[in-house]
Amino acid sequence: MTETDTLERPLTKVLPGAIDCDIHPRSPKLDDLMPHLDAYWRDMLPERDIDRLELTTMPTSIGSWALPGGTDGVQDAASLGKSLLDPTGVSAGILNLVNGVQALYDPYMSTAICQATNRWLASDWLDRDPRLRAGLVIPFRNPEAAAEEINRYRDDKRFVQIIALAMGEAPLGRRDFWPIYRAAAEAGFALNIQPGSIYRASPTQSGYLSSLVEEQVHQTQGFASQIASLLAEGVFTEFPEMKTVLAGSGAGWLFGLSWRMAKDWRGARVEVPWIKDSPDDIIARQVRMTIRPLDAPPDPADGAELIDCIGSPDMLLYSSDYPRAHPDAPGTWPAEIPAEYAAQICKANALATYPRLEVTP
């Protein structure tokens, strides 16, 4: 595309061959998981009436959260191909499952269901469409088992990242989770943080919220806290090669955090002397964000300035967030992002973020 083309015809569709970094498969039900469980859990899960693994913050079974294709979202790989991958012309799409497995207390049940879910993702989705990739679900309640699960998939490069929640088990920087990051970093997985809470603690410092709209906007605080935690506790320092991808976080809020941390670092550096570079530089190097939703200013003309404030167009990854509802059709190029960045945001940035992601040109 020449510059003249861009000026005359604004980019309206994502570029062909783009990599969609945030797609949500339906949550597996008990019947889906049964073939992938061992004998004990095949007995126990029906015994305990565990079927839907719905996460309270992502209640896909209730009307206002119902997704296209039924209350459970996209049913299978074939319908995802028809409804999203074919029409948008992407070369690859990453499935990120967000469900109640994140919220289980029992570390062993959590491990068993994570393992079964990953097998289901491989057999029912990845094996059925070569364009599909996935995030690995891992038990944060059981870090050793989580690291083993990551190592188990070391050679299956269709799994490109591990899934965490913005408001999950604990601040993600905690050393308890470092065996997970060590395994992930060694095998080239990225850390993917999705919106969602498991209500281990109140979502805010001052207590629980009253309405859905508060819950929605509060996700931003969850993401911000996780970036601060990963930075301050030294995960970014210890695992510099592992990118952290904020999915569905919006992007427009990030610079307030990175500027503030850069400023406070000037006085508080002594507390965390392993942070040797300014936090805004570290965030720009190691944090990536998907572009749907974007939280951009109302005037698309301000989009370039927003990206400049966030840090760099290198930090943004194309995503549809499908099948979550957005005002425009999946595959629509956001008017706020200048077309000159389309090539890198659609593909090059994803390849740089996910060393495991191999796409045929």
Partner: protein
């Protein structure tokens, strides 16, 4: 450039600072134990008096939790903790833009001061004392 006698060495306790005025400048002089150091007194952040700051060895880390204190001595601003190297005046966080001016400091016997090129502005020099000399 002139050498100025600013105080007796025993006027500043070890690891403490003192504000002196030389040729219209406010200068923070510090006793580092085996030597003295001096930098311009005003923190470039919001103007606090660095003479009231804490003198400390620069904390570093080889990795998260692996703390180490180096020999490099710094002063920490009493207001917001910004750090300045007492030899170079430079901050760690932004050495080229966030910095204070360093001054050469020496110690001299009172006896020698009677003959040298020193300027004594505010007090009598006794021949048996030791004095801090700041070069401005």
């Amino acid at each position: 450039m002139g050498k100025h006698v600013v105080c007796r060495v025993d006027e500043i306790d070890i690891k403490m600072g003192k504000l002196v005025h030389v040729e219209g400048r406010d200068i923070a002089v510090f006793n580092l134990g085996d030597r003295f150091a001096a930098v311009s007194n005003k923190c470039p952040h919001e103007g606090a008096d660095l003479c009231a700051g804490k003198v400390f060895g620069f904390p570093e880390a080889d990795g998260p939790g692996c703390y180490r204190v180096s020999d490099r001595l710094m002063v920490r601003c009493p207001w917001h903790g910004w750090e300045f190297d007492l030899e170079t005046g430079r901050s760690y966080v932004d050495p080229n833009r966030v910095r204070v001016k360093p001054f050469d400091v020496s110690v001299s016997d009172g006896a020698g001061l009677a003959e040298g090129p020193y300027q004594v502005e505010t007090f009598e020099v006794e021949t048996d004392g030791k004095y801090v000399i700041v070069e401005v």
